[in-house]
């Protein structure tokens, strides 16, 4: 199997409550895959478990290696990176320090090139590079969180709700940049409630409901699905969800 990330039959539980039940997914190189679903469907839980923040039951492999024995720091070193829902920035440190720490495991010369690339992607961050991360606007914080993750030169970037709480114009900007990442050789696993925007840039999509994938396919197929349209794309259709 040539998948970059492959997750097979994964279960994740909080105590006795199973939040994710028997989920399998894969992401190939240079692919943008999205997981859409309502609040509480288990999307964030799944991403956190793939990163190693939460324990899981099941098989996860990244770039051909089994990830079970690896902790978060090891997974970062193999090229997996998570931009978490709450961004988890270093609020009392400035933008440039945040970015430099993103390249904590990277050689200095490579880090300098990464910094240039991140500043080209997010010119706003360059303007604010001496400002404390905690004083940035929501959109800038999201850019910084993405920039920090990219500083580590990941092979797969996992984005958790990058559009959460942001103005539409900034959301468009961020999704445009996510689309550009593919050209830079970065695969993306995107978790979103904003299904419309996510399906526009993604190659493939999974639809998650109550801890299970109920539908998967190419982004076009999913976007054309009546049930998805009713539940997640906000089209005014009569009746209950068809999925």
């Amino acid at each position: 199997m040539s998948a970059l990330l492959s997750v097979t039959d994964v279960h994740i539980a909080y105590g006795k409550v199973e939040a994710v039940r028997g989920v399998s997914l894969d992401v190939a190189e240079n692919e943008i895959v999205t997981i859409i679903g309502a609040n509480g469907a288990g999307k964030t839980t799944l991403l956190n478990a793939i990163m190693g923040v939460l324990p899981l039951r099941g098989r996860t492999a990244f770039a051909g290696t089994d990830m079970a024995p690896l902790d978060i720091e090891d997974r970062v070193a193999t090229g997996l990176s998570l931009v978490p829902e709450h961004r988890e920035l270093f609020g009392t440190m400035n933008v440039e320090d945040n970015l430099e720490l993103g390249a904590f495991r990277i050689a200095k010369a490579t880090a300098a090139r990464s910094l240039e690339r991140v500043y080209t992607l997010f010119p706003r961050l360059k303007e604010r590079r001496k400002q404390l991360a905690g004083t940035l606007s929501g959109g800038e914080q999201q850019m910084l969180a993405m920039g920090r993750a990219l500083m580590g030169a990941p092979k797969l970037l996992m984005l958790d709700e990058p559009s959460l709480g942001l103005a539409p114009i900034i959301v468009a900007d961020i999704f445009r940049i996510v689309g550009e990442l593919r050209a830079a050789g970065v695969s993306v696993l995107l978790v979103e409630q904003n299904a419309q925007a996510a399906l526009q840039i993604a190659d493939r999509a999974y639809v998650m409901e109550l801890g299970e994938f109920v539908l998967s396919g190419s982004a076009k197929e999913i976007a054309a699905n009546k049930g998805v349209a009713a539940s997640y794309l906000g089209f005014q259709l009569e009746g209950e969800s068809a999925i």
């Binding site: 990163m51 978060i72 970062v76 988890e88 270093f90 609020g91 009392t92 720490l101 580590g152």
Partner: protein
């Protein structure tokens, strides 16, 4: 009171205050990175001072054997926690740090110890011994519970303090020790006489404050330590090992404690339990600094030192009472000024 006495008291207060400042900085550092309130800081002082004093008389201090024993326990813990994912690199690293380092230190101490060993060598050995103990203390007592609440960490910290103090009695006996001064030079300025020892105290304190500032502001490791303190999960997500951060913090704290001890043991006689009280005064300074501010902690420590010097002149029976009472208005003010903060979860 005449000016000369006042100047003497001020000088005395500032010298002691500088020591408290060093200890207070170490407490702030450790708390920021690991959320541990380091009660055993005082034991690092005693261990450093008395190990140095024993080495100076040509004896092998028991602390070096403690370092070897703790290294063995740390190694066993490393193996136990990594039992599901043992790989050669990890084992080699663990053997080097936990077995080879303390055993080599033990060998070095036995090889070099003697009545004519140069002061500098004795100091270096004492520092290495305490550094090893500090490092292993984190590995054994705090790393396995690093994710728990501040209260749990504090209780573990009190336990470590009691254990180390008890061991201190075994190693050094109930009688106090003194050690030779670092230098016998002295400078006279007006009525004041500055000994080489007190000048060394000032120089090292200032040096450490500047050094810590540079370290945290400009080096990658220093920034990583700060990042760990600000956001543990964020730090892990960029690949910073928070356990390594904790080890570095404890290493720095134990070295700072040992240096403080080595600086004061030529001035006053130290007993196995003296360190606790000295550490507590550093703690007061750290509390006044809110356990976050390095400059405020340093200033507060100098104030503590000066208050102590004056109160021991005027009401020496009450000097500790007066010093520790300092903390009350500060706590009241802080609790009034600061909003209720929920303990950070990670």
């Amino acid at each position: 009171m005449n000016t000369t006495i006042m100047l003497f008291l001020l000088q005395d207060g500032i010298t002691n205050g500088a020591i408290y400042a060093l200890l207070g900085l170490a407490l702030v550092l450790v708390f920021a990175v690991t959320r541990v309130i380091l009660i055993p800081q005082g034991e690092f002082v005693t261990y450093g001072a008395l190990s140095y004093a024993m080495l100076a008389t040509g004896q092998v201090p028991g602390t070096v054997r403690l370092a070897v024993a703790m290294g063995l326990v740390a190694f066993a813990l490393d193996l136990f926690f990594a039992r599901n994912a043992l790989h050669a690199r990890l084992v080699i690293r663990s053997v080097a740090l936990n077995i080879v380092f303390p055993v080599a230190l033990l060998g070095l101490v036995y090889a070099l110890v003697g009545p004519n060993t140069p002061i500098a060598v004795n100091i270096a050995l004492a520092l290495l011994i305490v550094a090893a103990i500090g490092l292993f203390l984190y590995r054994i007592a705090f790393q396995p519970i690093a994710h728990t609440s501040v209260l749990v960490l504090l209780i573990a910290s009190v336990g470590c303090h009691l254990a180390l103090q008890g061991l201190g009695l075994v190693f050094f006996g109930a009688e106090g020790l003194r050690a030779p001064a670092l230098s016998n030079a002295a400078v006279t300025a007006g009525p004041l006489r500055f000994t080489g020892q007190s000048l060394a105290v000032y120089a090292l304190t200032v040096g450490f404050i500047v050094g810590l500032w540079l370290f945290f502001g400009y080096t990658k490791t220093g920034k990583a330590l700060r990042a760990t303190a600000v956001n543990r999960l964020g730090a892990r997500l960029v690949g910073i090992r928070t356990t390594l951060s904790g080890q570095i913090a404890f290493l720095l704290a134990s070295v700072i404690g040992a240096i403080s001890g080595i600086l004061i043991v030529p001035i006053t006689t130290l007993y196995y339990d003296t360190g606790f009280l000295i550490g507590l005064k550093g703690f007061i300074a750290a509390i006044i600094g809110g356990l976050v501010s390095y400059p405020l902690t340093a200033v507060a420590a100098i104030v503590v030192g000066i208050v102590e010097a004056f109160s021991s002149f005027y009401a020496s029976n009450f000097k500790e009472v007066i010093v520790f009472t300092l903390i009350l208005p500060v706590l009241v003010l802080r609790s009034l000024a600061a909003p209720q903060v929920e303990e950070e979860k990670d």
